[in-house]
């Protein structure tokens, strides 16, 4: 039997398969190199970068919950300069497209980072994070207001010609409103969802289990919410959508593809199993073979109504 084609094209980025890590769960790629062949995954997505290095939040920063985890890392990152100097050389040698996730603390900073990334040949595309719940100034306000979201996307669009993926927050009343605003402002693709704001309490100490009190919930617990939002967004826009949220097994990824995601990202599952993405890729391939699907495109958006 001929192997099915899993290749997809997102915003002009050619991916050999639709599976990539979710930003912030895969470091800068090299951390996982000992555990899986980085050339087998669809793309590498970096930890969110900012103009200057960022310290992140005080500890504790993570807390396990039922079928999920809360994190309030606070977007700790090495900053754009150190990324280019110390992280990019490693990624250059890997034959897999690199998508750089980034954010700014101000509108200007968003533009600035985009401009700095605009001419790097190693960077296949940008993923604009307007949705991190742990950083207020540079994050959530942009992601929850359609006008602000459109503004930052327009600005970034004007500073870089790279394929532009915009990552949306689920912490909104109607994600399709933001999705459409961002599409109109020039996004080439969307990525949903980021984490959902949550909180957990240590009943003995009566303190929040995160120093930041609230954090972003990720993992299998949120999958039904993510699938619903991806389904809604796919109906609302014409640009491709990358689905993310709680994917652990191949079947989870397939749910997202079936509702119309053109690709998927795997986040928390990397912590559980560093080779999770490989199993997912193999599982998708297997499913295509079993179902007689020759090209993954036939599967994408095949939801029966």
């Amino acid at each position: 039997m001929k192997r099915p084609s899993l290749a997809v094209n997102i915003a002009g980025i050619h991916l050999k398969n639709p599976v990539m890590p979710a930003s912030g769960t895969f470091g800068y790629g090299e951390e996982y190199a000992p555990y899986l062949d980085l050339e087998r995954i669809g793309a590498i997505v970096t930890k969110g970068l900012s103009l200057r290095p960022k310290a992140g939040n005080p500890t504790p920063r993570i807390a396990e919950t039922i079928s999920g985890m809360l994190n309030a890392i606070g977007l700790q990152n090495v900053g754009i300069d150190d990324f280019i100097k110390f992280k990019l050389p490693f990624l250059r040698e890997v034959n897999t497209p690199v998508i750089v996730n980034f954010f700014g603390n101000t509108l200007d900073e968003y533009g600035e980072v985009a401009a700095r990334l605009a001419d790097l040949p190693e960077v296949a595309g940008l993923e604009l994070n307007i949705s991190c719940p742990n950083v207020k100034q540079g994050g959530i306000v942009f992601g929850t207001d359609p006008k602000a979201a459109a503004e930052v996307v327009s600005l970034v669009r004007s500073r870089s010609k790279k394929p532009l993926i915009v990552k949306l927050t689920p912490n909104v009343t109607d994600i399709t409103v933001i999705a459409r605003a961002v599409e109109e402002a020039g996004a080439d693709a969307l990525c949903c969802i980021n984490t959902i704001t949550g909180m957990a309490v240590d009943i003995k100490t009566r303190k929040a289990r995160l120093a930041n009190k609230t954090g972003g919930l990720s993992g299998p617990a949120i999958r039904p919410i993510a699938v619903r939002m991806v389904h809604q967004v796919v109906q609302a826009v014409k640009i491709p959508v990358i689905g993310v949220g709680g994917i652990v097994r191949p079947a989870d990824a397939l749910e997202f593809l079936i509702v119309g995601a053109s690709a998927v990202q795997v986040g928390t599952a990397n912590f559980v199993d560093p080779a999770a993405m490989l199993s997912i890729i193999e599982g998708i391939e297997q499913f295509c073979i079993e179902e007689g699907i020759g090209d993954i495109g036939e599967l994408i958006g095949s939801l029966q109504l």
């Binding site: 005080p58 993570i62 079928s67 985890m69 950083v135 994050g139 120093a211 609230t214």
Partner: protein
């Protein structure tokens, strides 16, 4: 450093609430260093979601059972049942399928041969010190100071003594050894052996006391830290501690999983190590 699916060889309660698990681990002994750890997971069981970090207690070989076959290598962990994950672990049996990611992190630096070595372990903190002692006894005199709340918390003494390590026990309730904190013992030893090097692992208040004593006496100290971990490989940034010279402007966060779990004491910011409060520019929610 790899992730491998394997099986439990044995899993026994060695003291009330303390278990010793032997796991089949071909090739592990060649790569694992004293002070390194693994991320452990029960195969096919989703809860708990995240892996659990455990120090490598020791590695070894099973007696070969048939001619020609290479002897089987194993690794051992020692763990205390404290929550959901360790409770599930305590119910595992021979043959149960588990997954091990490791060896991970930076282990102990063995220091100068010949110098007196003082190991300080509180409770389950003895774990990473065993393989360290195995190495150190080859060229130094090794003393182990063991602390714990009660008699039940004092484990593995004979194992260390068999290596030729000199052991001293202190329990808070006096039910075994001397009564009081193990740091009182350390204080005396430091007076006696000013050339010593110290290696410590245990609860944070103990480590802080050890650090103060060693700093006062100008004695080199390495500590093995615990931190909440999601990935174990430096990717999630969940396990950071503050490094020396840390400030908001000049953040010096160190990953416990990758740059630790063993740190030279002077690399850490002891004033803020356990300060959970803090604030950060963007996030004062």
């Amino acid at each position: 450093m790899k992730n491998f699916k394997t099986i439990v060889l044995s899993n026994q309660e060695i003291s009330s609430g303390y278990y010793r698990m032997r796991i089949l681990a071909p090739g592990f002994g060649k790569v694992g260093k004293p002070g390194q750890f693994i991320m452990f997971r029960v195969q096919t069981s989703l809860p708990p979601l995240l892996r659990r970090p455990f120090g490598i207690f020791r590695t070894g070989f099973l007696p070969a059972d048939c001619e020609g076959q290479p002897p089987k290598e194993y690794l051992e962990i020692l763990y205390k049942v404290v929550g959901r994950g360790t409770t599930i672990m305590s119910g595992l049996h021979e043959g149960d399928r588990v997954e091990v990611l490791g060896p991970l992190g930076r282990g102990f630096d063995l220091g100068a041969a010949g110098n007196d070595k003082i190991l300080v372990g509180g409770g389950i903190g003895l774990v990473p010190l065993y393989m360290l002692a195995q190495e150190l006894v080859k060229s130094s005199r090794v003393r182990l100071l063991i602390g714990g709340k009660r008699r039940d918390d004092i484990i593995m003494v004979t194992e260390f003594e068999r290596l030729g390590v000199n052991t001293h026990i202190a329990t808070e309730d006096g039910s075994l050894g001397e009564e009081g904190f193990v740091t009182r013992v350390l204080e005396r030893k430091l007076q006696k052996y000013p050339q010593a090097e110290v290696f410590a692992c245990g609860p944070m208040p103990m480590l802080e006391a050890v650090q103060r004593l060693c700093a006062a006496e100008n004695v080199p100290l390495q500590v093995s830290l615990e931190a909440l971990m999601a990935c174990g490989v430096g990717a999630c940034l969940g396990c950071v501690v503050k490094g020396a010279g840390h400030s908001e402007q000049n953040p010096q966060y160190l990953c416990t999983c990758k740059e630790g779990p063993v740190f030279r004491a002077e690399r850490l910011d002891w004033s803020k190590l356990t300060d959970e409060e803090g604030t950060c520019e963007g996030c004062k929610s």
